[in-house]
Assembly symmetry: C2
Homo-oligomer: 171 residues x 2
Amino acid sequence: MESSTILPLSQLSVSPWPKRAHQPTRSRPWTRRAYQPTRLIRCQKMYVPGFGEASPEAKAAKNLHNFFTYIAVRIVTAQLESYNTEAYEELMEFLSRHSLNDGDKFCANLMRESPRHRSLALRILEVRSAYCKNDFEWDNLKRLAFKMVEESNTRLMRDYVLETSPEEQEK
Amino acid sequence: MESSTILPLSQLSVSPWPKRAHQPTRSRPWTRRAYQPTRLIRCQKMYVPGFGEASPEAKAAKNLHNFFTYIAVRIVTAQLESYNTEAYEELMEFLSRHSLNDGDKFCANLMRESPRHRSLALRILEVRSAYCKNDFEWDNLKRLAFKMVEESNTRLMRDYVLETSPEEQEK
């Protein structure tokens, strides 16, 4: 239907590498079973450098938080379009001037635009909370991510093997 | 420790609005309880426009997939740094030339760089699968996202109230 829609989460901007993210003094196992000097070490997870006091889960949650704001804005806009054209156009106009990259900043700015914008902002806050807690399918997210990593790994290896197989090279 | 690290998921690039993402002909409820004409309608979720045949969960999973690749690259690089300086430098050099935005594309390119790079790519594939399935704390992600939406909503409203309260304006 709208499969060509520009989606926020497919546009990651990953910095090639942060500076000084590595600590040359430590040796780290690269699988959970590779290095277990004593049974006293309970944490068998792989060491993920560079997240400081935060965690990968916190970073992913922050990202999802912005995604939920984006979705809430889409939900509210779609609703307004059908029964409140004036509010719809105000919100669209505001969207053309403000980035949704930072959902909280967007909502904070929207609240301060005008009393009418403020009520829209409150509605977006309510919708993103309801969406996160009730509508978003967390189990499905996990299932899809598992499936994606398996399928991607298989596809990458298969493509490489096909590309470099003798039959292919003889053509 | 490395709290100033540049993180991939905090750099969302959200397009202000996709074109033709709305369908003016339909009326949509904006909370799950607001509109239940008959008991036959089983889906009580809010309508999220603009995802076409995909779903928000699939988009979020795709995003996490790239995040897991980023994390796998970090894990492998940190391990190499301590015991295989040559491979570490090769990977870092490759990273300086290739974007990690699309994890699968990065791995596909890495596999085709040289036989040594290929073994690094296979290792990254293995680590991202293990990380996704064993190490990443899915329940924690959900808990943190719930907490984040509550705290952010409260903070945004509190800040606004404080900013516009009479005492504040009298100062």
